[in-house]
Amino acid sequence: MTDDLVLDVRDVKKSYEGLEVLKGIGFGLRRGETKVLVGPSGSGKSTLLRCINHLTPPDEGRIFLSGEEVLEKNIDAMRARIGFVFQDFNLFSHLTVLDNVRICQVKVKGVAADVATERAQQELERVGLGDKASAYPAELSGGQQQRVSIARALAMDPDVLLFDEPTSALDPELTGEVVRVMQKLASDGMTMVVVTHEMSFARQAADELIFMENGYIIEQGPPQQLFSSAANDRTRAFLNVIAEHG
């Protein structure tokens, strides 16, 4: 049943200067599902995420968004439907928080200014930052900036949201506020792929955990199952190490 997949990644390969980072990755995502990608650094998780919206164009393989193939020629339109949350937020520094959440709606989707403002305000409320609309990014904490960047992605009404280690650049005391927003989105039925080391999030919010290593998917399954009885030794070892530190 590939038809009802929001995101369908098929046999994606990517090499950098002869080094194969992704060696044929495939997975699918149904509406409302949250999948968490885990694995040691260098396993290709972030590259995979960036291949999905062609920030890093894949060498081989195909990617479908709600049945439509993501291609170089339709990439801007596709990206408008794929929300992306970066590790280091990448809020537009010269724009206020409100304008950060407005600008892509207006410039990319052609939403009317007042409608975009209203939507932006709603999304800011949703991430708990309704009172920060007129602040500039540099005036916010890392956790607040990341929540704004989530609001920016949400305001585009994306088919799917991709999170690339959204808490890795944050001080430990600030990760909680971001994780809570992500958990709320997952329970609201947002369709999401999350690269993270936050195992509490994986445990509570993921429908499926995908364990990657050396450019391959080693194992995937419901988090409870993987945490308690991963079939693969390396998956088990990795999750144990993460669990101890997390």
Binding site: R79, R81, F86, H94, C104, A153
Partner: protein, 222 residues
């Protein structure tokens, strides 16, 4: 001191007649230079190989030769191949072309100083490359470039004085003329210098006001 003032009362009105021409020369050249500079910067940062090389050769050529030589070439050299400009136009062209090379380099440095993630984030939400440059990169780069751009603007304001050598009747030319009539070069060039000083400090304060007005925390420093 009294002599200085007396000389001023007599000749300042004549000297000031050069101000509009000096300012016209400067405003036109710096504005056109800014537009051309942006295009050159775009070619060098975002353009393909050909654009990159054309822009680079242009910039090196105009930064590597004296503006006076460029101006003489345009005004005195080009007529030999049938291209004739009046003195004012020739001066505008020379200062424009020269300034564009410098402005392009300031713009380029500024664009490159904007973190890469800004471009990536803009593209990731579906903006085209052009939209990302227009809405995200340029507003930040332009804010960051104001201090250097102010220096360039002031340097070019002073450089308008060399248009005198091809016969443009701006402040320096008038001063020279008054000097040869009164033979008081000491006083007349003190007064001319004073006029330039007033112009450059006015421009400097104006631009620093613009800098303060467009300040955004995290993009520019105070």
């Amino acid at each position: 001191m009294l002599d200085f003032l007396r000389f001023g009362i007599e000749w300042l009105p004549a000297l000031l007649k050069g101000v509009p021409l000096t300012l016209a020369l400067w405003v036109i050249a710096i504005t056109l230079g800014c537009l051309l500079g942006l295009i050159l910067c775009w070619a060098r940062v975002y353009g393909n190989r050909l654009c990159y090389w054309i822009s680079t050769v242009y910039i090196e050529l105009f930064r590597g030769t004296p503006m006076l030589v460029q101006m003489f070439f345009i005004y005195l050299g080009l007529p030999h191949v049938g291209i004739v400009f009046d003195a004012f136009t020739a001066a505008v062209i020379a200062i424009t072309l020269n300034s564009a090379a410098y402005q392009a380099e300031y713009f380029r440095g500024s664009v490159l100083s904007v973190p890469r993630g800004q471009m990536v984030a803009a593209r990731a939400c579906g903006m085209s490359k052009w939209q990302a440059i227009r809405h995200i990169m340029l507003p930040q780069a332009l804010r960051r470039v104001i201090p250097q751009w102010s220096n360039e603007a002031i340097i070019e304001l002073k450089f308008t004085s060399i248009a005198y050598t091809i016969g443009v009747v701006e402040i320096t030319a008038i001063a020279q003329d008054i000097g040869s009539r009164t033979l008081d070069f000491f006083q007349v060039f003190l007064w001319a210098g004073l006029i330039y000083l007033v112009l450059t400090s006015t421009v400097a304060s104006l631009l620093s006001w613009v800098e303060r007005r467009t300040h955004v925390p995290g993009v520019t420093t105070n």
